[in-house]
Amino acid sequence: MKLLIILIVVLAIIAIAQLTKVYEMSRSLRKNKEEDIPAADNKMNASLWLVWMFVFFCATIYLYIKYGNYLPESASEHGVAMDQLMLVNIALITVVFFIVNFFLFYFAWKYQYKKGNKAKFFAHDNRLEMLWTLVPGVTLAFIIVYGLITWNAITGPASADAIQIEVYSRQFDWTVRYSGDDKTFGASSFNLISSSNPLGLISAEGIREKLEEIEGDIENLESQIKANESDHLLPESYVKSLEDRVYRLKRHKQRIMDLDETEVNGLSTWETGFDDKVVKGEMHIPVNKEVEFIFRSQDVIHSAYMPHFRAQMNTVPGTPTRFKMKPTITTAEMRNKLGDSNFDYILLCNKVCGAAHFNMQMKIVVETEEEYNAWLAAQKEVKAPETEEEGDSAGAESEKKDTVTTAMKP
């Protein structure tokens, strides 16, 4: 098979080369010079421009008709304004596309070389040039103003009663966090991320556990290094890597101890996280309520793209980003409209992030407020309130403070 392909390619190359040679020879017999374009060739190329124009325009129209309805109607409020803007822009550029390409191809045919003709010496014309500076200028002014009005509406601050939802990305999945009854997200830090705490939520208990874990690791590594000091069994490079690891663990520990407890609305952000709800792989949002997404990323830049809502925002490690929108069509309504009972809104990653980038997705469910509330109520809180064990958790708190203070001593 491989051989066959290579053989065909080689034969084709030889054939073309031979044909060229024959052509060259016959041409030299006729004493034609390559630099003089024969009238027939010139005419053929001129005519081909018309053929091409016809094909190109027909193909364009076909594509517009068949694929012009690029997405279902926008399922968000701002998306409707955006689609309107898109329509105006597309209409405008389509008109210009046809007109300019028409003149280009038409002139190419119309003004083809004719024997005895002399071209018109027409070097400049200020009025014409002014015309096609001003007309695009005015058109663009319109596009800019119209576009910026829409842009400002999209990017304005979210209203005070908007539901805040945190969307958290990592290779290669999405996690969603709801803020619970206190409407305040608990603080988080990448230093505390573990398999049991995928978002790195900060809590006194979590800090204590993590510090213990790190201290255990350090102790373990240091004892290995110490043992080696007497018997020198380990290769030097390995010891070096151990020391390096200890150094990094100590820095990690210090970063955790540097975490500050802050307060929002009189509540510690180390505790407001207890009633947060973390959901993986599926996001529910209520219809006709403004939602403000807060995007965070764990590892590399991803992008949360929700084409049905005309929404997109990059998720950047270290820098939270935001996007607000108001969904207007529930999943059930959209299924009806499309006549597709399997339809689901989708959030997909739109910034290359690694091998499984092409399948980093999350289902979005838009539902009525009642359905949404019921669904949310059924989700598990990060840590259920343990009212009867009040004393215990206070104890844990002071214990943690102890750990921190002792650890900070040299």
């Binding site: 694929y67 071209a119 018109k120 027409f122 829409t150």
Partner: protein, 595 residues
């Protein structure tokens, strides 16, 4: 070798130099030879880039199907059983983009035509510094070799896209391509920028200082104007890329955190805080956007020359053309943020970039209309070069228009990083610049090699390339508007994209045919180089100075004194003259006004 001076000594002994093979063909300091070295290297790189694109188009057109050819070229590791590996796919996409943008359309296009045309069209014996010019090529060649070599390292080539956004490009834990492959990418790019800067400085100095008598700035052919502005853009923006790349190297190798913050990957919280990945994007696009015009302007300059010559008409609005080149060059520095509307950048900053970006459409529109008016009432001769130049105007207009949508931040939100963007920049930048480059090759081949290329093959090459080019990129607009993100290995995982998937095999088929059509060009190019018909001195009846040099190349370009320029480059079909062209060296008739 002798350092050439623009003025002064007659140099009629130039062709008597006895030269060894090495000093003539390899370590040459002659701008004409260096130009050919750039061209041949770029063609080689271009072939690789096209092949890579066909490999990944096979996967995109027929995802999951087995292709022996993939296995044959990429081996069992990257294409086991003939199915492209996911990481290998990203590596192919990345290296395709890198090679095309930097090595073919920056190094190749500017390197070839700046070297060939600047001294010849301004009437200089050579570049200001032949040695630096040679150095520029060798840096280019070494960086090309490193870039190609990076395809063969363990873990594969860089895979984060040609824009190599951190943290992805910093962390080998994130993808195998961010290991050795990325290090080589970065090293190659530093060398490439060195080449570009050395070359660019040389071009600017040469144009400013070594113009022959009478070659005022306002008499220079538009090619030279375009190459001048291109070189200035490169000098001002490439150093910023180097700093971005060096900081990235530090993040990778020296444990710094310029671009990194709050990262947990591979089961470990990295020891990085306080950096910003967005900083890299600002630095990158501060080069990246002027880069678009570094690619495009030489092509526009070349096509101005070709369209005017072959329409037998002066270029319409010469001064407006210069003005729009300058305006585009200036504006290109204050629009980079339009690549970053959805990075969380302050929305007000976004609106400023909307404004500046859309302003670029005005000088671009002026250029497009001026080309068309140049053809109006012309007497058009369709050489292959002319076909490519007319094609360029079409791609420039067609691709430029969709830029209006992408520049509009409110619309960009929904099409950002989709195939709509891929369609846009491949048409406006990729096709236009390639057409400019191919047109330039067909037009100046007689000057480079003293022989003619075959027209018939050139015609076939052009029409196939035009049809396939649009066939590949035009449908992508629709794939993108339907919501297909770029750099996806397959589109099989999303039901809502199913209905546009029938376009992908069509696109891939056009890509394969279009790629194969380039074989016609390669045959024509290499065959004509040795066996083409001998060219006459001024085959296209052109006005510019390069056609007053002897067909056989000599050092110093002109035997005897340097030519003196008496008129602008566009006196075609001047009613005061019998012939339909009046070369720049022809003195004004009594009573005739210079343009």
């Amino acid at each position: 070798m002798i350092k050439m001076e623009s003025t002064g000594h007659a140099h009629d002994h130039g062709h008597h130099h006895k030269e060894s093979f090495i000093s003539k063909y390899i370590f040459s300091q002659d701008h004409k030879m260096i130009s050919k070295q750039f061209l041949v290297t770029a063609i080689f790189m271009g072939v690789i880039a096209v092949m890579l694109s066909i490999f990944f188009r096979l996967q995109l057109g027929w995802p999951g199907e087995k292709f022996d050819i993939l296995n044959a070229f990429l081996g069992d590791k990257w294409a086991p059983d003939g199915i492209l590996d996911k990481n290998a796919y990203l590596a192919l996409v990345t290296i395709h983009g890198t090679i095309m943008v930097f090595f073919v359309l920056t190094g190749g296009l500017s390197g070839t035509f700046a070297n060939l045309l600047i001294p010849l069209q301004i009437g200089a014996r050579d570049m200001a510094s032949g040695f630096l010019n040679m150095l520029s090529y060798w840096f280019f060649l070494i960086s090309s070799i490193i870039m190609v070599a990076s395809l063969f390292v363990e873990g594969g080539a860089a895979s984060g896209g040609w824009t190599i956004y951190p943290p992805l490009s910093v962390l080998p834990q994130a993808m195998p391509g961010s290991g050795m492959g990325m290090t080589l990418w970065l090293i190659s790019m530093v060398l490439f920028v060195a080449s570009s800067l050395i070359g660019g400085l040389n071009y600017v100095v040469t144009i400013i200082n070594l113009r022959t008598k009478g070659m005022k700035m306002t008499r220079m052919p538009l090619t030279i104007w375009a190459l001048l502005v291109t070189a200035i853009l490169g000098i001002l923006s490439f150093p910023v890329l180097v700093s971005a790349v060096v900081l990235l190297l530090m993040d990778r190798m020296a444990g710094t955190a310029f671009y990194l913050s709050d990262i947990y990957i591979g089961g470990e919280a990295l020891d990085v805080t306080g950096g910003s990945p967005i900083l890299f994007q600002h630095l990158f696009w501060f080069l990246g956007h002027p880069e678009v015009y570094i690619v495009l302007l030489p092509a526009l300059g070349i096509s101005s020359e070709i369209i005017s010559t072959n329409s037998r008409k002066p270029i319409f609005g010469y001064k407006a053309m210069i003005g729009s080149i300058l305006a585009i060059g200036f504006l290109s520095f204050i629009v980079w943020g339009h690549h970053m509307y959805v990075t969380g950048m302050n929305p007000f900053l976004g609106s400023v970039f909307v404004f500046t970006t859309l302003l670029i459409a005005i000088p671009s529109a002026v250029k497009a209309f001026n080309y068309i008016t140049t053809m109006w009432k012309g007497n058009i001769r369709f050489t292959p070069a002319m076909l490519f130049s007319v094609g360029l105007v079409s791609t420039f207009v067609t691709g430029g228009l969709t830029g209006i949508i992408l520049a509009d931040s409110a619309l960009d939100v929904n099409v950002h990083d989709t195939y709509f963007v891929v369609a846009h920049f491949h048409i406006v930048m990729g096709m236009s610049a390639i057409f400019g480059m191919l047109g330039g090759i067909y037009h100046w081949f007689p000057k480079m090699f003293g022989r003619m290329m075959n027209n018939k093959l050139g015609y076939a090459h052009f029409w196939l390339t035009l049809v396939c080019g649009f066939g590949v990129f035009f449908p992508m607009h629709f794939v993108g508007m339907a919501g297909s993100p770029r750099r996806y290995y397959a589109y099989s995982e999303f039901e809502f994209l199913d209905w546009v998937q029938d376009l992908n095999p069509v696109i891939s088929t056009f890509a394969i045919v279009g790629g194969a059509a380039q074989i016609l060009f390669l045959i024509n190019f290499f065959h004509s180089m040795f066996y083409g018909q001998k060219a006459s001195q001024n085959p296209w009846h052109s006005n510019t100075l390069e056609w007053t040099t002897p067909v056989q190349h000599i050092h110093g370009n002109w035997p005897g004194a340097l030519p003196e320029v008496h008129r602008w480059a566009y006196d075609y079909s001047n009613p005061d003259h019998e012939e339909d062209y009046v070369p720049q060296v022809v003195p004004l008739k009594p009573g005739e006004h210079a343009h």
